[in-house]
């Protein structure tokens, strides 16, 4: 009883420490991104006014934009703006960055969510099957397939998908149209190819890590014990092994889903999907630094959040991790 009590008592400080550590990392990440963006040769004021501007005009705009202040002051102002949800003005669109992002973010979340709904069960099935049938041809086939899928470039998957499903079979549109008026089935149809491409890209890593986690547990004595008691293999895996590797599996899921962010950059661009990643590519092309910084911060926050959640799940699922 008392052991359980101390276990509970020591959980909250650990959670707080992890949250604090993630917040510190996010702060450092924001410094890195701000610093890199500051490397830009020439400055935003010069760029906005063009070549014909007089030095006085440039100086005036620099002052207005706060560019004549030292970097730490600008950083502090930018950071406090970001925290309050004001990411500044887009240099190209002339709109608040927040408004542009608010329009795109739901699309990207929807794409990521639907991909996860498809990819996570698929990866679990592949990983569990490979682990149970270790050493058989099924295991080798899944291993070979996932090793190959990890190394496939996203644009190959996407272009082959377009070639098969929209050019040859004409089942699916090759451009993803998303609008508020479109019905659910229409949205789903037009997003089917992006979702499929992203699934191919993320499912392999998840399946491999799931297999590794389960295969590691299958060698433990408790599995042998359960088998000797007469429990069926599926029961042992689902009832005994799976709960024990919840931590590593969730970690694999989080890592792969965070990869969705990066993978989405190419896939969103190919399908003209109006999401955050293609917005970021546009920001790079037009060198719209405020927009770029905001997008990068959102992606990094999402990554850190996923890692934090995976960490928490591992902590809750495995009491031994709370021991120290």
């Amino acid at each position: 009883m008392s052991g359980a009590k101390t276990g509970k008592a020591s959980l909250w400080p650990m959670v707080a420490r992890r949250v604090g550590s993630a917040a510190l990392t996010l702060l450092l990440v924001s410094m890195v991104i701000f610093a890199i963006a500051g490397l830009l040769p020439g400055d935003a004021a010069q760029e906005a006014l063009g070549q014909s501007a007089t030095p006085e005009q440039v100086a005036a705009l620099r002052h207005e934009m706060g560019l004549d202040q030292p970097a730490p002051v600008r950083y502090a102002r930018w950071l406090s703006g970001m925290v309050q949800g004001d990411a500044g003005q887009s240099l190209v669109a002339g709109m608040p960055v927040g408004a542009i992002i608010a329009e795109r973010l739901p699309n990207t979340l929807m794409l990521a969510g639907m991909t996860a709904v498809l990819a996570v069960p698929l990866a679990l099935i592949m990983g569990i099957t490979a682990a149970i049938r270790r050493g058989t041809w099924i295991d080798r086939a899944i291993n070979l397939a996932s090793l190959s899928m990890v190394a496939l470039p996203e644009f190959l998957v996407a272009t082959v998908g377009v070639l098969i499903f929209s050019v040859k079979l004409m089942w699916l549109p090759s451009i993803a149209m998303v609008s508020a008026e479109a019905s659910w089935s229409d949205t789903l149809r037009s997003c089917a190819l992006p979702i499929l491409s992203l699934t191919v890209v993320v499912v392999a890593q998840m399946a491999r890590m799931t297999r590794a986690a389960i295969a590691d547990q299958l060698d433990r004595p408790y599995v042998e014990m359960a088998r000797l008691k007469g429990a069926s293999l599926s029961r042992v895996v689902l009832g005994h092994v799976l709960p024990n590797c919840l931590g590593p599996i969730v970690n694999a899921m989080a890592l792969s889903l965070s990869y969705l962010m990066g993978g989405a950059i190419i896939v969103e661009t190919i399908f003209n999907f109006p999401g955050l990643a293609s917005l970021m590519v546009n920001a790079v092309t037009s060198r719209d630094m405020p927009l770029l910084q905001a997008c990068a911060m959102i992606f990094c926050s999402a990554y850190l959040l996923l890692m934090l959640v995976a960490d928490m799940v591992a902590l809750l699922a495995n009491p031994r991790l709370r021991a120290q």
Binding site: G38, L147, S148, P153, V162, V284, R287, A296, Y303
Partner: protein, 273 residues
Amino acid sequence: MKRSISLLAGAPLATRIAAGFVGFWLVLAVAGPWVAPHPVGAFVDQDVFSGLSARFWLGSDYLGRDVFSRLLYGARYTVFLGLGAALLAACCGTTLALWATLSGGMVDEIISRAMDTLISIPSKILALVLVAACGSSLPLLLLICALTYVPGNFRIARALAMNLAALDFVAAARARGERKFAIALHEVLPNMIHPLLADLGLRFVFVVLLLSGLSFLGLGVQPPYADLGSLVRENISGLTEGAPAILAPALAIAVLTVGTNLLIDALKPEDKR
């Protein structure tokens, strides 16, 4: 070297095929310009996006240029930029890792924290921000790709070096009064070279994917140069016709990366089941 060859001779068929693909690309990347049947920028075909033929093995591209010749030239940029960036990333990452491990204390703390920060920025996002800030000339692309993968290599090398540094022979070398540099070079590094080589191969795959992804977005290798990713981009309008001009370079990248990945996996010394 001899060992890896004898390893390959007794390896299963799939491994030898993978090794063949990788070797094939390395040879093509070096010998490309001498093998190419047509000049790289010449408009040699009346048709655009023509199919496979005896004269143009892989058809022609959107301007009527020979795809096969362009592929051979493009492979050079992909392979050499990839190798260069992977080597640079591995050298920087491993050097930092050895320095951090053997110094310990504050140095380790600071380097590790910095690398943890960089690793929390998804690699494509970091590369995009860097390209936006610095531009994308060939040397810059090499540096950007290298920098993006330093933290990943650092993390692996540090874990390896940490395990080794705790062993007796390192303690003995320290007690002999050897300098940190000598310990790193003679005691620690030779014992972690195999996993590091595997990691180097993996970084190469990542760099090739990142680089061709950037080029595909139009943010990587800039005209007049073209790597395999640029070739996919410039021929994207041939997609509806299923032109070989777009599929060939994309498949070429896949053969290179998948082959490397399978080869690394096969050469891994007895994976723990």
